[in-house]
Amino acid sequence: MKPRKDAAALLDGETYFLNMGPQHPSMHGVLRLLLRLSGERILECEPVIGYAHRAHEKMAENRNYQMFLPNTSRVDYLGGMIYNLAYCQAIEKMLEIEVPERAEYIRVIVSELNRISSHLLWFGTFLLDLGGITPFLYTFDDREEILNILDRVTGSRLTYSYGRFGGVTQDVDQEFLSMSTAFIKRLRTHFSEYHKLVTGNVIFQGRCRGVGVISPDMARTYGVTGPCLRASGIPYDIRKAEPYGIYDRFDFDVATRNEGDNFARYEVRLDEMEQSCRIIEQAIANIPEGPIMPAKPKKRFKIPAGECYFAVESPRGLMGYYIVADGSDIPSRIKLRTPSFSNLSSMVEVLADTMVADTIAILGSIDLILPEVDR
């Protein structure tokens, strides 16, 4: 695409403002892109966010630590389990609570299942944005299987409050483990089906190769993390860089690509699903018996003055809880560092000078969740 340098010289009669607005099928929620167009080419793009702002951080300041638990899985409802358990791990870090072995393994299994279900939903909606209806139905069929498995043990399909400070609430039984192994076997056969259905498609390649390139340097200055960063060649995965919980016991590799375009992000997420399957199998293979909560779980507690920053790898990137405690049982401040917030801020530069049709493909490959951007 030759960049056009005469954008500034356009008379006012030629630029056209388009609202790719809050209610739009492929804006993954309520994002609004204010586009300044010349013909089909985007001269300038300003994401207008805040349409899903629910004030999680303000709520954190008027309720105690236990009452904030349900909020955590509603910030990013596709990685609800990961956000929920991350909050519990952050508080455990501040209170130095010991988590029993079995609970750690259960946490890894359900987190990776949640990651696969998030990537499956991304895969379906990404193809739906590009016009392919059938992959959406295939991936939701697989995803329902995961929701069944997680529903058995947590009681809810999307917004789990499964973690407690020190462990998890329900124990998993043999049925849960066998269902998970059966699911992974089935999912692996579907991977080849997805590749046959989508990867080789000429139109898909045409719309994704070389489109929406994020260079490693741009990714670093915009703070892009997660699959979008790994697709630009930087193998940064918090499960490897800052192993939390027991992630250092599993051997899995970090899927990376170098092109940094839509197709690279697509491949990175597919590989990540495969890696998550490997982690789950290893976790199921050597999950120990034992308690799932510490002997005397702390019911009412105050956290001494201090602060803690705890980062985890959410399906969309680096997710960090920055908790500042002031000695009472109500947090003084909880800052949620969410990955989509920074990933979306890089769109101002990535979407400039592209076609309107490419915007849909690029936004689909970035995998945004708007309440996570607006918090």
Binding site: L18, M20, H24
Partner: protein, 124 residues
Amino acid sequence: MDPFSDFKLLGGFLVLGGLIAIIPVVVPLLIAPRFRGLKTTDTYECGVDTIGPSWIRFSVAFYLFALIFVAFEVDVLYLFPVTLVYGTGQFAGGWRDFIEVGIFISILSLAIVFAWRKGVFEWD
């Protein structure tokens, strides 16, 4: 044979076509409950108000693309009567009709080659 039978047929066809076009427009206005809100008549653009004029000068490539389409629309129009007489009459069952339509289409598709060379399909 009533000399006007063809015209009657055509007249009936036109009236029927007109009715089929107008009825779905008029009937809902009568039987649907009426509602007028503040923004009912505003243009729908994802729920927010539109910005700036929509009467702007856009690139000529769109106009040329539309012209090429109209040219080939007419091209297809001429092929409709051909279907009535294709393969009948003097050269039934031969290749002559097929060749003739082939020549007709290839001459017209020269317009595409011309437009291609002129760069109408370059989209930058």
